[in-house]
Symmetry: C2
Subunit: 326 residues, 2 copies
Amino acid sequence: MDATLAVDADDVHDARERIAGRVHRTPVFTSRLLDRLAGRSLFFKCENLQRAGAFKIRGATNRIRSLSDKERRGGVVAYSSGNHAQAVALAAREAGVDARILMPSDAPRAKVAATRGYGATIVEYDRQVEDRAELALEVAEREGRVLVPPYDDPFVIAGQGTAAAELLEEVDGLDAVLAPVGGGGLLAGTATACEGHGRGVVAWGAEPAAADDTARSLEAGERLRIAPPETIADGARSTSPGELTFPILRERAAGVVRVPDGALVRAMVSILTRMKLLVEPTGALAAAAAFEGILPEGPERIGIILSGGNVDLGRMAELVGEHGEP
Amino acid sequence: MDATLAVDADDVHDARERIAGRVHRTPVFTSRLLDRLAGRSLFFKCENLQRAGAFKIRGATNRIRSLSDKERRGGVVAYSSGNHAQAVALAAREAGVDARILMPSDAPRAKVAATRGYGATIVEYDRQVEDRAELALEVAEREGRVLVPPYDDPFVIAGQGTAAAELLEEVDGLDAVLAPVGGGGLLAGTATACEGHGRGVVAWGAEPAAADDTARSLEAGERLRIAPPETIADGARSTSPGELTFPILRERAAGVVRVPDGALVRAMVSILTRMKLLVEPTGALAAAAAFEGILPEGPERIGIILSGGNVDLGRMAELVGEHGEP
């Protein structure tokens, strides 16, 4: 373990105890047909079946359940137009903590409604003119709230690592665990869990080909920033890996592969028709890398984190139409 | 137990032992959101995640694994354009038994390909001019094969009852189990499992409103035949309950409720967006009855059999378009 890194395996262990009973231990599924397609044995960790539809509730719960009494009374604030918003809202409500969520004024109505449905107050902002992270810091300071960042936080990273920790406990003899990469919170937690598990299991990331800030940064050996990317994987449109996540990935992840959008749609369709499971584009990143041989040869028994399932059906139909049903 | 009925609880018990390890013990899922929608506690038995995508593999495996050595050598024959075809093909291949499946010449190519993919020989027939049951009997006689009927067979009924038996073992204190009704094999097995379980748990059926041959027959106290029905629930278009299934339903089922097609589409969409699970129209019958208050009041803790998930995405998109996304 490197003492300069933000999170180690003990933190993932503590996170598991802290969130136990508050999030689902999601099932692990297999499919002979999809194994044949991939030419390897795949074990799908179904975080699309997680509470609020994604792994994000793990990190949010771990962060919020670590607040001091004083912090709890002050409440939390977060910014997100996606799964992190709903996760923070739900985790906060269940902990009896007030939550304020910054969402762009053009966010999908369904997501705003779901977040409000979990009891959070929504603050709208104009994403053309306002910087959401800065706005959130202002709210945090002005109202005495704790900011719950989407990935660059030790408790959030450790919480996200619990999915891989469960998978490693449940499936013997895995060679690798493959996870989607946006800001890197899930992969950093996953890589930390793999290192803690020992036995040579390695963590790989899968990133949209058009949003390959983390792959590029790892190749360059330093955090690079890319222009705002165009990809259907809306949970992985980050432009730079995190300040805390990047050093962890450099040290503990085996690498990050690039997945084209077309492969994501094909993977979503395969998972829906073969496994009867709905995954969102970002949630299909790791599976797509395995199905289409994008992951280097070597690992034979591979854990795949299906990270989320929040996509509306109209959008799903559109994607399948544009990219062609296989 | 009524000795004149084709199947009793011991047969379901024997079926469980016979098919153990050959079919999935499917997971049981719950959803707080859907409980709120239904106003009751629902426990979803996910047979859409079953091998070959539906509960049918249970009955087919139980029948084929009960063949004598001589019968095994002669092979089996079945007729179906749907899930039973794939189930018999798969169960036969795994038992090393040759299978011939009669499918209409206008059956969806994907279903024919899947059935052939499991190693069965397909015999096409023209459903405008030929009677498939008669054709199958001819093949059985000419080639010395055993016919595996879709529902009217003691081994098939007992096999289908194993889904409810697993559910009753897993979830304490159920008041009722709700299952789709076509020819009545699944409901007859379910009702038998409920009776065997004791503790007052009752079985209800859910039938398409336009294909209510079983509801009408139960009301009349005798098997009635209806005209070929128009419903999107293609697995429940039977025109009359079975000779063996009907007396079991009369004796052991609490009743059968009628579900309009619109409610099926709404249920499919709710299950897909809330639970991230794909179910076919027939597979959503029981859930729809619970969501829309079609089931009489009384039972509070209800097992719902999601019986299958084989629907192609184009068809799914069409249905959602026609009936309107809620």
